[in-house]
Symmetry: C2
Subunit: 143 residues, 2 copies
DNA sequence: TACTAATTTGCAATAATGTTGCAAAAAAAA
DNA sequence: TTTTTTTTGCAACATTATTGCAAATTAGTA
């Protein structure tokens, strides 16, 4: 059985050294289709790595444009894979984020752009984020 | 000179005991037109009250519907006065929030509703939040 | 006003989350 | 294999927030 090297490719493409922790954490994102918190990563990676290593790995992924921060309403720090053409120093994350109040999963709706809004006179917008909560596809269909 | 009792009225109307800290903190919100963080309150109230008292006061105001939490992109906890008909246990805060990247002030755009968005099949929306960053009215006009 | 009951406050302890410096370990290059 | 560079783990520290409890304050009643 040949194991995939998609993770290695992504690390190499971004000029990062290939290390155990980076591979494991990146694979969590590749396998789980949704946003992950630091605590999730500690849990799913069986506490193999030091907290600080996890923080630093996420920070590195952020800087390289491998993941982006997900806006939240409850002050949690969430990370999700960038699926567009984010590069070092600049993210292109203007999609809507959805959080399910049933399963608590936060998803990137990568194909739904944040809509334009007409602001009061004098306000100049530069960036917009949108968070929609409700019941997700999976939870709705499993009823 | 007769000092206003708007703050006392609000506290009474919400069935809260009238105390020094509650009056001072509520007046900060009434005078400052924007969102405040816990640290702002400690600063502007001249550190008169214990941190814990400030936390508990904000929590009480939240529960009564006197203030609402403001969504942020940088995981800061911000509070702003409810200007609509929020009541104990239920907020009606579906307006857009604007954060100025110049003066850093966060404003409630109370008259701008969060727009509807067409979601992928299967997602059922219950609530939506929107945060727009850019240059605010004051900063733009003072150039 | 004085008294009483209920609520609120301040303090100390504790928790959760995140950051920094530095030596040891690991990865990449030579 | 050896050397150089990067990454990791650990300890210490910082910030933000929560809890229990006794003292102080508020509101209602006599
Ligand atoms: Mn996203
Ligand atoms: Mn608001
Ligand atoms: Zn769900
Ligand atoms: Zn401004």
């Amino acid at each position: 059985m040949s194991s995939s090297t998609a993770d290695i490719d992504i690390l190499r493409k971004n000029g990062l050294h290939v290390t155990d922790s980076r591979r494991v954490i990146l694979n969590l994102f590749l396998k789980y289709d949704g946003a992950l918190a630091h605590a999730d990563i500690e849990k799913y990676s069986s506490s193999l790595y030091d907290r600080v290593t996890v923080y630093r790995t996420l920070q590195t992924f952020l800087e390289k444009g491998i993941v982006h921060l997900v806006p939240t309403v409850d002050n949690a720090t969430l990370y999700a894979l960038c699926k567009h053409n984010c590069i070092e120093g600049h993210h292109y994350d203007n999609h809507v984020h959805f959080i399910c109040s049933h399963c608590n999963k936060t998803s990137c709706l990568d194909d739904i752009d944040v809509p334009e809004v007409k602001l009061p006179r004098g306000f100049r917008p530069l960036h917009a984020a949108m968070i929609i909560s409700g019941i997700c596809k999976m939870c709705k269909s499993s009823n």
